[in-house]
């Protein structure tokens, strides 16, 4: 090293801020909630989307009481905050585009009365794909290797769902469980290795 690489320092510090696993726990619980609702109460699937905000509210005190005394408070630089905002907008746009495309194909099939056999075959995998596409964007943007593992779990679960003609909730539930377990493992490791400092 011939100089102090501040970009590398910043990127490492930023990635490190996700090492506690709480975001993974939140995303995992949210997916598991929606997937399980789809399997157990298919008629109430639209209502299941209230789950993730409820989970976020429930996890907030955990962050405040358990994590903040260990990691403290940091305000990232203005360029990093702008970057975060752009990523969130991009993520939302990718998800909305994928959702719009799926909705368009579905409405076209209903209106025309023609459904491709392949479309019917792959339909149960669409919800998992709608999650996997933004997850790829997150993996690329943050450089967090574990997000690729989550994408693989989702894709594999979606493949099994198509192969065995299961309910669309299964890949979400299995993917959510994978993300949740990964998050809990990270959280346990973080709590063991990081003492309270406040």
């Amino acid at each position: 090293m011939t100089s102090i690489d501040v970009k590398q320092l910043e990127a490492t510090a930023y990635r490190g801020s996700f090492s506690d696993g709480l975001v993974d726990v939140f995303v995992g619980l949210g997916l598991l909630w929606i997937g399980a609702s789809w399997i157990l109460l298919p008629s109430l699937v639209p209502l299941s989307v209230v789950g993730p905000p409820v989970i976020a509210v429930a996890l907030f005190p955990v962050r405040q009481r358990v994590l903040e005394p260990r990691v403290g408070y940091v305000r990232w630089t203005a360029p990093r905050r702008h970057w975060e905002r752009r990523q969130l907008v991009g993520l939302f746009a990718a998800g909305a585009t994928a959702f719009g495309l799926a909705a368009f194909l579905a409405s076209y099939a209903v209106a025309s009365g023609e459904t491709l056999p392949e479309a019917r075959t792959f339909a149960p995998a669409i919800p998992a794909a709608l999650i996997a596409i933004p997850a790829v964007a997150v993996a690329v943007a943050t450089g967090l290797g574990r997000v690729w593992v989550y994408v693989l779990i989702l894709v594999a679960a979606a493949g099994v769902t198509v192969a065995y003609d299961l309910e669309p909730g299964w890949p979400l539930a299995v993917g959510g469980l994978g993300v949740l377990l990964g998050g809990l493992w990270l959280l346990a490791r973080f709590l063991r290795s990081t003492p309270r400092r406040a």
């Binding site: 011939t2 100089s3 102090i4 501040v6 320092l9 910043e10 510090a13 490190g16 903040e68 005394p69 260990r70 990691v71 403290g72 408070y73 940091v74 305000r75 990232w76 630089t77 203005a78 990081t194 400092r197 406040a198």
Partner: protein, 96 residues
């Protein structure tokens, strides 16, 4: 020969300067967690950086708990950039 800023060149303070350079501000707990420094060590080095005008210290109460927040001043940022340039020059030779 180019002079290094001795205040920043000390390993612990260099760590603190580079830790604060990549954020806008961070509190005592965060800096301590990211550097692994003890409370006493961190406070004494921060006091020297504050005395030199490199670091601004803000003490406040958040949710009824005391919080000490550090941020590099503009002067501190320029000093750190000058230090980096000096190190690069010493290691690589003068830059065109």
């Amino acid at each position: 020969m180019t002079d290094l800023d001795r205040l920043i060149h000390e390993p612990a303070r260099l760590r603190l300067m580079s830790t604060l350079y990549v954020v806008e501000e961070a509190d005592f707990v965060n800096v301590s967690a990211r550097t692994g420094f003890s409370a006493g060590n961190l406070s004494s080095h921060m006091a020297k950086l504050e005395e030199a005008g490199y670091v601004e210290v803000k003490k406040e109460f958040v949710d009824k708990r005391p919080r000490t927040t550090y941020r590099l001043t503009d002067f501190g940022r320029r000093a750190f950039e000058a230090y980096r340039a000096t190190v690069a020059e010493l290691l690589n030779g003068p830059q065109p």
